[in-house]
């Protein structure tokens, strides 16, 4: 039972508010009491047209309307009800209708004196009982709490037992009143009025009959929800579908269109209804993003068989599933299946509607005739078997080996064909392995071959699928090697002719920087083609842990400070401003003042909350980036770039939120090496949250994305970059003429040779070093930049991710928790470093200790791990990639270190947590101790993570040449550029970088589109 409890005053402090809060707590078994404030309501104004009523008033009225009962807690001013409460009640019964009509209501009151608001309560009752309100007021019982200061305890409890007893009796009676009024059903009313009612019957349609129950359940079952506004403009009915997009309430039924919509939405709704009434339209649709997914709303004119207007139905549902089917080629299968039976000409027509990947579809649109003639040549019938294979028909379930462990695979075989391959479960990293899930099974079945290309970036998953199908074929008595030796699968519908395309801006790279640049270009109303060399969007972003740094003190201040954070801040006060590079000194002084103010404030209030500011983010980015390489070259972040980043990161995060990235604001996170808790983390799995939202946004705004389209050269004429040339794996060359080109192709972390060539920071880089990067991150953008004489900055600085999987380089295996909870031990079982240090310190310490080390965790620390699940952890323990034991002794044996040493290490560490201080290595931020079994050890080793250096850019993302002059038409954003993070990048700053500089590159490029064409010199 839902009860609205209205605080009858707008005062900041009120015992009447305390009384309602007490009731909410005390009666939580009986009812769900929602305490409503009235201070936010404007003063009642009867002259105000309904359309201009504020959202606050509307929300207040909706809440009261949808409550089963209403409590008024009323102070007394001048022997009477406070004006603010009268005003609130006036809003409730005035325009467009009285929502207190027959509403069960109860009046209570508290006062400082002994009278306990008796006169004000009398008035409230009189007002509620007046014909204007006509509420059902609980009579008899009176809740009058006097001498509030004596009767309320500090934590809001009532000490007077008699008052509590009276309150309990009164509230119980109120609940009984609500029950009594509610249990009178419509049927009861009709029976009293001697009207018949229908109990069980059929509705007979010309096409059959339905019981009422069936009709109701059909509407509740279909995946779209329906709302009906009848011919008289009243909200008549809605389908009771679970998890509706539009949340409706039965109390809204029978309301006029005016009442059930927020005033500001009314004009649009009325326009639709009027267009249906006057016959000018029969359907209006609105595709939009609701609750984070794509949703289609369609309004239909409901017309009688003779065409007369019966009402308007609103038909709403998520279309993600349908789009997913389309994108995964579901309709392609249907058409090719159909074509076996249909005449040849329908085949041609059907294949034009093939659910082609986005790139091919776009090409088809560019030249419909060509693509039609090509599809005629293509055989719509499945490729016949090339050798004799006989299988024992049936469905085989095998375990395939993927990047993150095994996953089940269903293979269906007929006598001589592979009929279906289906991947079960989703153990592979979202956005990486799951591309292979779709592409490979489709190609294996269509080509009847195991000779298919692996998906770049998901080769483990791809091989897993191929070998899994081979295993099933073997079990069915077939010859998998023969299947692997069959001709390579070639998509018969693929377009292989060379061609030329025009666009406004070409973006190279389908990671976060490229996608956010493309989305911004579309926002600005320009055309964009995004070129991604692999089969999937995501780049390195999809592998990111998720948190994006942005100082948002208003949000961060809501969290408590962690032990030790004040010491980190104190360290800034202890620093000498003369040790700071000149560019940053002014900001550094501002920061010192902010910290001084903060420390004074926490001391005064006794409440230690999390501090942050744009300046702290800026200074940490700068200090984090100061590095000197082995040759003695010292670099630090370029002030204009660091300023641009830190000034804009929060706006970037808010933009992402706006376009559909769902953030989890309940926690502020700190990725490893971030130095401060300012990470905004998407709700969806890690970096995939960003990529899916941006990808959806670009598709929804008709952006063109071309996958498997590597750019091999820039078109550079007369000092101007004028487009790119794409060479596809099938030999096709696509020339794209664009007025601007944005490089967003990432660094070169997966190109070990290139890393070795430029490295000046580490004494040596092993040939077999792992990387956290996508295998596609091979420095393509650097090479393209070099081809037009672009300058480079900081190329020798390579960042290692110290805590990577020793074999795969993967970040999120094992227990990867916030650094406050890291306990790192070497192969002797001893700690060897301040776990809170920056990444390169951790990596160097790890190299000095032999490379391999372990993260020790207990059951509580396990719960703070990122991006994993119970199933994944269990799988990793089974595979020997994570160690688990009930005692530290056993854990020590498993990782081959001396048990006493490990126990001693843990005991010491725990004592440092208690003390908030680590005398051995100086760790100064702690959270949990290692004490609750089971215990875990996650093996780690540094891997190449981020290539710090890159092309020289200015704060507007122009690429500069070796002389520092802008290269017309060329822009860069993200890891391909250098100078922002300088020698070392803070964790969480890469996402802030790409989502800030991606859009900046786009905006700069668009601002210069005209100039660059008419007069290149304007750029100078």
């Amino acid at each position: 039972m839902k009860i609205a409890a209205i605080v009858g005053t707008n005062a900041d402090f009120s015992y009447n508010r305390l009384l309602l809060k007490y009731m909410k707590k005390h009666f939580k078994q009986l009812a769900d009491i929602d305490v409503l404030e009235i201070a936010q309501l404007p003063a009642f104004d009867q002259d105000q047209p309904y359309e201009e009523q504020s959202m606050e008033v509307w929300k207040f009225k909706q809440t009261v309307k949808n409550a089963d009962g209403v409590i008024f807690s009323c102070p007394e001013y001048d022997h009477a009800i406070p004006a603010a409460l009268i005003s609130a009640i006036e809003w409730l019964f005035y325009n467009p209708k009285n929502i207190l009509e027959e509403k069960p209501t109860m009046v209570v009151g508290v006062s400082y004196g002994t009278q306990a608001t008796s006169r004000a309560q009398e008035q409230v009752r009189a007002i509620l009982a007046s014909p204007d309100c006509n509420a059902a007021v609980l009579s008899g019982h009176e809740v009058l709490v006097g001498k509030a200061a004596n009767n309320f305890t500090k934590d809001g409890n009532i000490t007077d037992a008699a008052a509590v007893k009276n309150l309990e009796e009164s509230f119980t009676s109120f609940i009984q009143l609500i029950d009594a009024l509610e249990s009178r059903t419509k049927e009861d009313d009709l029976v009293t009025l001697k009207q018949p009612f229908v109990n069980e019957a059929y509705i007979n349609f010309p096409t059959g009959r339905l019981t009422f129950k069936e009709a109701q359940q059909i509407f509740s079952t279909i995946p779209f929800e329906i709302d009906l506004i009848d011919r008289t403009d009243h909200f008549a009915w809605y389908s009771d579908k679970p998890n509706r997009e539009h949340v409706r309430h039965v109390n809204e039924i029978g309301e006029t269109v005016d009442e059930c919509h927020p005033p500001k939405a009314l004009p649009a709704v009325k326009a639709i209804i009027n267009s249906f009434k006057d016959g000018s339209k029969d359907m209006v649709e609105r595709p939009l993003i609701m609750h984070g997914h794509r949703t289609l709303i369609q309004y239909y004119a409901l017309r009688d068989v003779d065409g007369s207007y019966l009402g308007t139905i609103e038909f709403t549902g998520s279309v993600e599933h349908i789009i997913g089917l389309f994108e995964n080629g579901a309709f392609a299968d249907v058409t090719s299946g159909a074509s076996k039976h249909e005449a040849a000409d329908t085949t041609t027509a059907a294949s034009e509607e093939t659910g082609a990947p986005v790139d091919d579809a776009a090409d088809g649109a560019a030249d419909a005739t060509t693509s039609a003639s090509k599809t005629e040549e293509a055989s719509p019938i499945a490729v016949p078997a090339q050798d004799d294979q006989h299988f024992k028909a049936g469905k085989y379930t095998v375990q395939a080996k993927g990047h993150n462990g095994d996953f089940p695979l269903d293979v269906t075989l007929s006598d001589d064909r592979i009929e279906a391959v289906e991947v079960k479960g989703d153990t592979e990293t979202k956005g990486i392995g799951d591309t292979a899930y779709v592409k490979l099974p489709a190609e294996i079945v269509a080509g009847q071959t195991l000779n298919v290309d692996v998906v770049t970036g998901a080769s483990d998953t791809s091989h897993g699928i191929i070998n899994g199908v081979a295993e099933a074929v073997k079990q069915a008595g077939g010859n998998p090697d023969a299947l692997k030796a069959r001709a390579k699968y070639v998509n018969p519908n693929a377009d292989t002719e060379d061609k030329t395309i025009e666009t406004d801006v070409a973006v190279i790279g389908g990671g976060g920087a490229g996608l956010s640049a493309a989305a911004t270009i579309l926002d600005q109303g320009k055309k964009v083609i995004l070129l991604e060399k692999t089969a999937a969007l995501g780049g390195n972003t999809v592998r990111a842990g998720g948190p994006m740094n942005a100082a948002d003190p208003q949000w961060q201040n809501k969290f408590d400070a962690l032990p030790g954070e004040d010491k980190s801040l104190q360290a800034f006060l202890d620093m000498d401003v003369n040790d700071i590079d000149a560019d940053y000194q002014a900001d550094f002084k501002t920061l010192q003042q902010q910290i001084t103010d903060y420390l004074a404030d926490t001391k005064k209030s006794g409440h230690e909350y999390l501090f942050d500011s744009v300046e702290l983010h800026r200074i940490q980015t700068y200090l984090g980036g100061v590095r000197t390489d082995l040759k003695g070259n010292r670099i630090f972040g370029k002030y204009p770039l660091v300023k641009k980043l830190t000034d804009n990161a929060l706006a970037s995060q808010k933009w992402l939120d706006k376009i559909g990235v769902d953030f989890d604001y309940s926690q502020v996170t700190m990725p490893v090496g971030a130095l401060w808790r300012r990470g905004h983390k998407p709700v969806k799995e890690a970096g995939f949250g960003y990529i899916s939202a941006l990808g959806d946004y670009i598709k929804a705004h008709n952006g063109q994305i071309m996958l498997e389209s590597p750019v091999t050269e820039l078109i550079h004429e007369n000092g101007q970059v004028k487009g790119v040339i794409v060479k596809k794996a099938n030999g096709q060359t696509i020339t794209i003429h664009a007025q601007a080109v944005i490089l967003a192709s990432g660094g070169f972390g997966a190109n070990t040779k290139m890393v070795q060539k430029y490295n000046t920071y580490w004494s040596t880089i092993d040939d077999n070093i792992a990387t956290t990067n996508s295998p596609a991150i091979t420095g393509d953008g650097i090479r393209l930049g070099e081809s037009v004489n672009a300058g480079e900055f900081g190329m020798g600085f390579i960042q290692m991710m110290p805590v990577s999987d020793p074999d795969t380089g993967e970040l999120f295996s094992g227990i990867q928790c916030p650094p406050a909870n890291f306990v790192m031990v070497n192969n002797k079982g001893k700690r060897f470093v301040n776990e809170f240090a920056e990444r390169d310190v951790l990596a160097q310490a790890a190299f000095d200790n032999g490379g391999l080390f372990y993260l020790i965790a207990d059951n509580e620390i396990k719960k703070t791990a990122y991006n994993t699940s119970k199933e994944k952890l269990e799988q990793q323990v089974k595979e020997g990639r994570l160690f688990k034991a009930d005692t530290l002794d056993d854990l020590a044996k498993q990782i081959n270190v001396d048990p006493d040493t490990l126990k001693d290490t843990v005991t010491k560490y725990n004592s440092y947590v208690d003390a908030g201080k680590d005398p051995e290595f100086g760790k100064n931020v702690f959270d949990l101790k290692v004490e609750h079994a089971p215990f875990y050890a996650t093996p780690r080793r540094p891997a190449i993570h981020h290539t710090m250096g890159g092309l020289t850019i200015d704060p507007d993302a122009h690429v500069l040449d070796k002389d520092g002059v802008k290269i017309n038409g060329l822009y860069a954003a993200g890891e391909v550029a250098g100078g922002l993070h300088a020698g070392n990048r803070l964790g969480g700053n890469s996402l802030a970088d790409i989502f800030t500089f991606g859009p900046i590159a786009a905006k700069t490029a668009i601002g210069e589109l005209v100039d660059t064409v008419s007069s290149a010199s304007k750029n100078d």
């Binding site: 707008n10 104004d45 009189a126």
Partner: protein, 185 residues
């Protein structure tokens, strides 16, 4: 006699304003100033910066007057929140109504003429925080306010005007006594 006449509603179309304007014109032997309240914000004891200027202005005007007339609208059997808000302001930091003779009149669009609002208002004015001298004599309640005035804003019914004259004359006598005793004290 200097009289402040408070319009007990923030509505632009209030017939209570019409009534007071009519009285100001009709009783031109007295100095009646009609005061609107639509500029006065909702009372809030935590209002930033203390009493708002329009409240201070109204309080000064009342203080400088010999008597007050309030014409109240009726919503849901009580006074309008906008009028109650004004009285709360005038009984919080400032107390200009204390010992001030007040005449209550009312107009409503329904036949009842605001009888319950008058009763409520009388109780409020007599409460210890306000401590006004609400006149207990004749009750002038004008029903069907929408049709009671002609185009010039004059009351159409001669009997009504006569009754208003007698009420007002009694009030002036009452106010005269009150002011005399104020001066004596």
């Amino acid at each position: 006699m200097k009289i402040t006449a408070i319009v007990g509603s923030n509505s632009k179309h209030s017939s209570n304003r019409k009534l007071l304007k009519f009285m100001a014109r009709h009783f031109d032997d007295q100095d009646i100033t009609v005061a609107d309240i639509d500029q006065i914000p909702m009372f809030n004891e935590n209002y930033p910066g203390g009493d708002p200027q329009p409240v201070i202005d109204l309080a000064n005007q009342i203080k400088a007057s010999d008597a007050v007339i309030i014409s109240c609208a009726e919503h849901a059997h009580t006074v309008a929140s906008s009028l109650k808000s004004v009285i709360e302001w005038l009984s919080y930091n400032l107390h200009p109504l204390a010992n001030q003779p007040v005449m209550i009149v009312s107009v409503s669009s329904k036949p009842q003429g605001g009888s319950r609002a008058q009763m409520a208002l009388r109780g409020i004015l007599n409460s210890p925080g306000v401590n006004a001298e609400a006149w207990q004599g004749n009750e002038f309640m004008l029903g069907n306010g929408n049709t009671a005035f002609d185009d010039n804003g004059d009351l159409k019914d001669e009997g009504t005007v006569k009754f208003l004259e007698s009420c007002f004359s009694d009030f002036i006598t009452f106010a005269g006594h009150k002011n005399a005793s104020k001066e004596e004290a």
